[in-house]
Symmetry: C2
């Protein structure tokens, strides 16, 4: 595994939340889990642009940060279900606010983002 060479900043609330939410797919993972998509293969289908590998890594981090828990059913073929912890649940309204803002401003955002990419 990759080992950090520099310590993260943990000064304020923004640093702290950043530390657990940074990661390309983490917010979406939390969101889809909150929507009832609990199994890894379901999440993978919901987020087809991510590779399975990265989803696993980010799920592990979310688990380490106690935002989700993992239940492994000892059956074959394997069955695993992720759920939000109570702590993780408190984050959903915040994520929802992010998504709502993005949706509300979709057109404008799309245009400024694309303009910058093409420039």
């Amino acid at each position: 595994m990759y080992e950090r060479k520099t310590l993260p900043n943990l000064n304020c609330g923004l640093d702290l939340i950043g530390e657990v939410l940074y990661g390309k797919w983490k917010i979406r993972l939390l969101w889809f889990i909150s929507q009832g998509h609990q199994r890894p293969s379901e999440l993978q289908r919901k987020i087809p642009d991510a590779t399975r590998r990265v989803l696993n890594i980010q799920l592990n981090e979310l688990e380490d940060h106690e935002l989700i828990t993992k239940k492994i059913y000892p059956v074959m073929p394997p069955k695993v279900e992720y759920s939000l912890t109570d702590f993780g649940k408190t984050l959903i309204p915040v994520i929802s606010a992010l998504g709502t803002w993005g949706d509300k401003n979709e057109e404008h955002l799309r245009s400024v983002i694309l303009r910058r990419l093409e420039a």
Copy 2:
């Protein structure tokens, strides 16, 4: 400048907001600007862990994404002031929600983050 080799996902609101907020210091920049710290050197003092270079780059991105505007006063020594656009202002409550959640859960967050770092 670095040129992207892959296109970002712009499917949903979460993708869109992510595209304009990702960047180690962007949220803090928006926050401090909203608090009245408008000049580059002030922002640098508020965020001493970032190098001046990165702050400039991220400020430019925020400007391209129309979240902030830049006023250059033609005086010497130079004077520059950043302000939130009306669009940028709509983001402040969302950022505030992030910070509040982080502050409220500070102890728990600090402990799980540090635990993972040391493991």
